[in-house]
């Protein structure tokens, strides 16, 4: 109980003194996770929608695989990305290992299946509702995908937020590919892991509270901007 109280005190102290390290770590966390979210959404939203409307031979297998990939172990993803980006790996020449870009790549791999799978579920229902109308209007495949994405945007926002939640809270993969280097690749989750290892539970908890607050603020902001509740019944 003392540790939790001390953690809350540490969190308040860090926030209200605008601790320089905390600000840097928080901004890097946001930069990495939001970048991964944008890239993953650009892939997963059209792909999940396409999967909902397209019939092809191995569709069920593709959907089952996608669902299975939602549970990708982050450390395994981290290890694979590490091997690919290491000096002896095929992309070693790019010199991306232990950079925020490597962390973004790992997070994109982790959250894309999650966003695509939720998108597919949501778009499948919307497609069942719109199918006859869009076929009757002689729409092209691209027009169908765009219509479903636009009309299902609030559900897709939830899918994206689920992806953001997984990305911002992820530690295993980014620890491996980022290296948790101070002032370079240290983010909130890896900093928490480090402080816990050092036995500084108060600081670790403080960073944890900041992480939770950050996730809440981002979610509330996006909900407010997208007016999810006000127009939820559309």
């Amino acid at each position: 109980m003392n540790d939790i109280w001390a953690g809350m005190q540490a969190a308040f102290r860090l926030i209200f003194t605008l601790d320089a390290d905390l600000v840097e770590i928080t901004l890097l966390s946001l930069r990495v996770s939001l970048s991964a979210l944008v890239v993953a959404s650009a892939i997963a939203l059209p792909f999940g929608t396409w999967l909902a409307i397209r019939r092809f031979r191995f569709r069920r297998t593709a959907i089952a695989t996608l669902n299975a990939l939602m549970g990708l172990p982050p450390v395994v993803v981290g290890l694979i990305v590490y091997l690919l980006l290491s000096r002896s790996g095929p992309f070693g020449v790019l010199g991306l290992l232990f950079t925020p870009t490597a962390m973004i790549i790992a997070q994109v791999i982790i959250i894309t299946p999650l966003i695509a799978s939720i998108t597919h579920q949501a778009m499948r229902e919307l497609w069942a509702e719109y199918h006859d109308l869009l076929i009757s209007l002689n729409t092209s495949k691209r027009q169908r995908v765009m219509t479903l994405i636009w009309d299902g945007r609030r559900t897709l926002m939830t899918a994206a937020l689920a992806g953001f939640g997984r990305a911002i809270g992820e530690v295993g993969a980014i620890m491996i590919v980022g290296g948790n280097i101070d002032h370079a690749t240290r983010v909130l989750t890896t900093a928490i892991a480090l402080e816990t290892g050092k036995g500084d539970f108060a600081l670790a908890l403080g960073l944890g509270f900041v992480l939770i607050a950050l996730a809440l603020v981002v979610n509330l902001t996006i909900h407010a901007l997208s007016r999810t509740e006000r127009e939820g019944t559309w």
Binding site: D132, L133, I135, S136, T139, T147, G152, E231
Partner: protein, 238 residues
């Protein structure tokens, strides 16, 4: 007036589901202006025939041949479903959607949306969410969304089912105006009274087969088959 080239021929058209005939074989030529009403009991194949004509139901055998290329034929058609499908958008956006697909200029879209919102009596609800409209309003919006494209052929699948008398009258009045403006209307109905009021031609289906077809006056005054006579009398026919 209706494009004289927009007519369709069905030759030995058959639709099968799970190995069972649900429609056909049907041989039919459809053209000319006015209302063609497709009537018959439940399961007669009315909706299937409408979807075959519109090209959204694949035939298991036979051919459906419009007198213009298929792409042109589809672009010149519109379809209104029995349960209106509303896009999760405002009334205005529902009306403008088919025009955006045609890539019309914004000013033309605005002009037509305002005109059709007035025609269907929803000018005060333009910014309301379409899914929240009443059943009658939804059906009028679906009809407006179909007619705003100025189709040469309009298919309607029991557009007045579950509507009260007032809404039915409003829908019929919109359809009559469209027919007068030159749109060919092909419509299914269970309502014999409605068929009597509107029909120029009748297609009477029973058990997936076309039992009778011809001018409405002939069908109602002197039906040729005993099934048609029984159907008009209000007897149960299967």
């Amino acid at each position: 007036m209706v494009d004289p080239q927009m007519s369709v021929s069905l030759a030995d058209v058959v639709v099968k589901r799970r190995g069972k005939n649900v429609l056909g074989p049907i041989n039919l030529d459809l053209g000319g202006a006015g209302f063609t009403m497709v009537i018959g009991p439940n399961g007669a194949g009315k909706t299937t025939l409408l979807k075959v004509l519109h090209g959204v139901e694949r035939v298991s055998g036979g051919t459906v041949q419009w007198t213009v290329p298929d792409d042109q034929a589809r672009q010149a058609q519109a379809y209104v479903f029995q349960s209106p499908i509303m896009l999760r958008r405002s009334v205005r956006q529902n009306l403008s959607y088919p025009l955006q697909l045609l890539a019309l200029p914004k000013s033309e879209i605005t002009r037509r949306v305002d005109q059709w919102a007035g025609n269907i009596g929803l000018q005060d609800a333009l910014d309301s969410p379409a899914p929240r409209l009443s059943g009658g309003e939804k059906q009028k919006l679906a009809l407006g969304r179909a007619l705003i494209r100025q189709p040469k052929v309009l298919f309607l699948d029991e557009p007045c089912a579950n509507l009260d008398g007032r809404s039915t009258r409003e829908i019929e009045s919109l359809l009559t105006a469209a027919a007068t403006a030159g749109t060919k209307i092909i419509m299914t109905t269970h309502d014999i009274g409605q068929a009597r009021r509107l029909a120029t031609n009748i297609l009477f289906l029973l058990g997936g087969s076309l039992h009778e077809s011809g001018p409405a006056s002939e069908f109602f005054n002197s039906p040729r088959t005993s099934e048609a006579k029984a159907f008009l009398k209000g007897d149960i026919v299967e």
